[in-house]
């Protein structure tokens, strides 16, 4: 840049030249290779767990063990909720595994309505495993199909990085309102799963994001902590996230409001991550 010095000072005095912007070197594309690699390993690891838990869950349904199947519903879904940015790239499987009745013209009665939420309706609303075996079998084969496809997939970097915001948007749209798991009321499990998945992506690119905008990184971390502090009020055992969550109807109005703020901020802020890392 070869502006005459006086003009340069005049311009910067009026804020016309973004000194902050030009002071940072842009993220080099090859610096994103390691985070994308680690993200795929994270997804594969979660998928392996998802497949194992799905097997246990669907076996319980087929054996007619209602209480066991009910208790396995939420802990199984968590793995799917974590890896949704990748899982939902497969439109057919995302629909057959995770669609809600509202996605179908004839709701619960729709012949195409399958997957977790169809089983949720049977297990928690009708409180029975009767007639659920075919849905359980279909779910298991869909999960195996998903694992196979993800193993073969080259992860698109912009979908991975954009996935952090997508997960928080998902929380904002369907978890805070409590519409995701309307019969089981296990929404907080899914909520935590989405947060885990978003946080993982953020953690992997954090060193790169910090080079570009340290204040941005700080804001994200603060909002994650305040959101998780609110979620921690609802662990089954105090201080132990692994113990799971109480039902969503136990969440106080004050805490529902307390969650909306950080969730909205995170969804908005994280949506700038792609651009920050040069992936737009």
């Amino acid at each position: 840049m070869s502006l005459p010095r006086s003009l340069f000072f005049a311009a910067s005095a009026f804020g016309l030249i973004g000194l902050n912007v030009s002071a940072h070197a842009a993220v080099a594309p090859q610096d994103l290779v390691a985070p994308i690699t680690d993200y795929k390993l994270y997804v594969l690891d979660n998928l392996e767990q998802f497949t194992a838990h799905s097997r246990e869950f669907t076996e319980a349904i087929k054996a007619g063990e209602l209480a066991k199947a009910q208790s396995l519903y939420a802990p199984t879904r968590v793995y799917y909720e974590r890896i949704e940015p990748i899982a939902e790239l497969f439109a057919d499987l995302d629909a057959s595994i995770d669609a809600r009745e509202d996605d179908y013209e004839n709701g619960v009665q729709d012949a195409d309505f399958t997957g977790f939420h169809r089983l949720e309706y049977g297990l928690f609303k009708q409180e029975s495993t009767d007639g659920m075996a075919p849905f359980a079998e279909r779910l298991m084969s869909d999960v195996e199909d998903l694992e196979q496809r993800v193993q073969e997939l080259t992860f698109p970097p912009e979908k991975v990085v954009g996935g952090a915001a997508a997960l928080m948007e998902e929380v904002a749209a369907t978890k805070v309102s409590g519409e995701e798991d309307r019969y089981s009321r296990t929404d907080l499990w899914d909520f935590q799963g989405n947060v885990d998945g978003a946080k993982k992506i953020f953690e992997l690119v954090k060193p790169l994001a910090a080079q570009e905008d340290p204040a941005f990184v700080e804001r994200i971390e603060q909002n994650f902590s305040s959101m998780e502090a609110t979620l921690s009020h609802y662990y089954v055992e105090e201080g132990n996230v692994a113990s799971g969550f109480v039902t969503y109807d136990k969440v106080s109005d004050a805490d529902r409001r307390a969650l909306v703020g950080p969730v909205t901020v995170l969804a908005e802020e994280l949506s700038t991550l792609r651009g920050l890392l040069g992936l737009n």
């Binding site: 594309p29 290779v33 690699t37 795929k40 390993l41 790239l89 497969f90 439109a91 669609a99 080259t154």
Partner: protein
């Protein structure tokens, strides 16, 4: 969301609720007004599609290749998502478009036939035809950015193969320690196959490559040389002498070297240029050695199977980047598939294998030239 059994809200909350509802309505009206204003359906730069309760209108769109803006108008009564699909893969999507609002979505599309989801999952998909633009040879020119995905995927491949190699090297070490010749031979075959899939990566480290993969010919005292270790030394014992005698320290060293290799690869990965250059290098080495031999033996054939599988992974990752050079992309894919097919036979023809290995090597070298801007 609220069911009939919920307690009656206090009047204060009720007032707050009403005020909020009024605000929301105003905001929605404002958005609606804006939505009417800023993007008329006839926008020359973009394409509009309206989602009704039963599907997309129009249900078939045609747009030119490249970056294109779509305006999705939700005229159904539910929040919807709109997606562009390539088969079952989601290329672009916009979620949670509220009723009566519109959203914009910009997509970079290659020429081809795609589908659109149109609201309810039970609604029929629409079609989206992307036409080629004259003179627009390659929309997605090869750049360092386009290499991120393939390089990450290859790194994942090496890490997973590395884990498998470590497991089979340990099994080999145990079988030799137990003096179980059959089990040791079996473990060797598995370990060597994985080692050859990863040959280009091992080849980046001369110390490890020598200890793992060097042939007896490279040592002064040949088979008797104390520095002759690794896979070829183990093969001498297990398949020629048919004994595990003296192999325990060699197997132990091999396990340690494999662990070191996987650690290095986990830390550093592989530079972009090595994908093509490294694959070509290891195939050429096999080809040249084979040419100097009177005939093809079973272990050399097994090695080529491993090398081909490793190169096949590279080809599958890089072919999509060569869209600007469709002939080269096709030649690369075909030479890789051709060799793979021949190798499926129990006793493939040696001359054909030599020919096909050479073809694949030269296709990889050409691809390397095209990909140079991305390194």
């Amino acid at each position: 969301m609220s069911d009939s059994s919920s307690p009656t809200p206090s009047s204060g909350l009720l007032r707050l609720g009403m005020a909020l509802a009024a605000l929301l309505m105003l905001a929605a009206l404002g958005l609606f007004y804006l939505s009417l204003g800023d993007a008329p359906a006839s926008d020359a730069e973009g394409t509009s599609v309206t989602i009704t309760a039963s599907g997309c209108e129009p249900n078939a769109l045609t747009v030119p290749a490249g970056r294109h803006r779509f305006t999705v108008i939700n005229e159904s009564e539910r929040a919807i998502e709109w997606e562009i699909l390539d088969g079952v893969m989601v290329l672009e999507e916009r979620e949670n478009i509220a009723p009566q609002l519109h959203q914009q979505i910009t997509a970079s599309l290659q020429p081809g036939e795609y589908q659109m989801t149109c609201g309810l999952l039970s609604n029929p998909h629409g079609t989206l035809t992307v036409t080629a633009v004259e003179g627009q040879a390659s929309i997605q020119s090869v750049s360092a950015k386009t290499m991120i995905g393939p390089l990450a995927e290859y790194r994942v491949y090496l890490i997973l193969q590395g884990r498998e190699l470590q497991k089979s090297a340990e099994a080999l070490q145990r079988a030799i320690a137990d003096d179980d010749l059959a089990a040791a031979q079996q473990a060797f075959v598995q370990a060597r196959l994985v080692d050859q899939r990863m040959a280009l990566a091992a080849g980046m480290f001369s110390d490890l490559d020598q200890r793992l993969n060097a042939r007896a010919d490279y040592f002064a005292e040949r088979e008797q040389d104390p520095d002759f270790v690794g896979f070829h030394r183990l093969a001498e014992g297990l398949f020629v002498a048919r004994s595990t005698a003296d192999l325990a320290p060699v197997a132990k060293q091999l396990s340690a070297d494999v662990a070191l290799l996987t650690a290095r690869l986990q830390r550093d990965g592989v530079p972009a240029s090595q994908l093509t250059k490294g694959s070509a290098r290891v195939l050429r080495a096999w080809h040249d050695y084979q040419q100097s031999q009177p005939q093809l033996n079973a272990r050399e054939l097994a090695d080529l199977r491993g090398l081909q599988q490793g190169a096949g992974k590279v080809v599958s990752l890089l072919s999509p980047l060569l869209q600007g050079q469709p002939q080269l992309a096709e030649a690369l894919q075909q030479s890789s598939d051709g060799l793979a097919q021949t190798l499926q036979e129990a006793e493939p023809d040696r001359v054909l294998l030599l020919q096909q290995t050479e073809q694949l090597t030269s296709a990889l070298a050409q691809a390397n030239e095209q990909l140079t801007p991305a390194y």
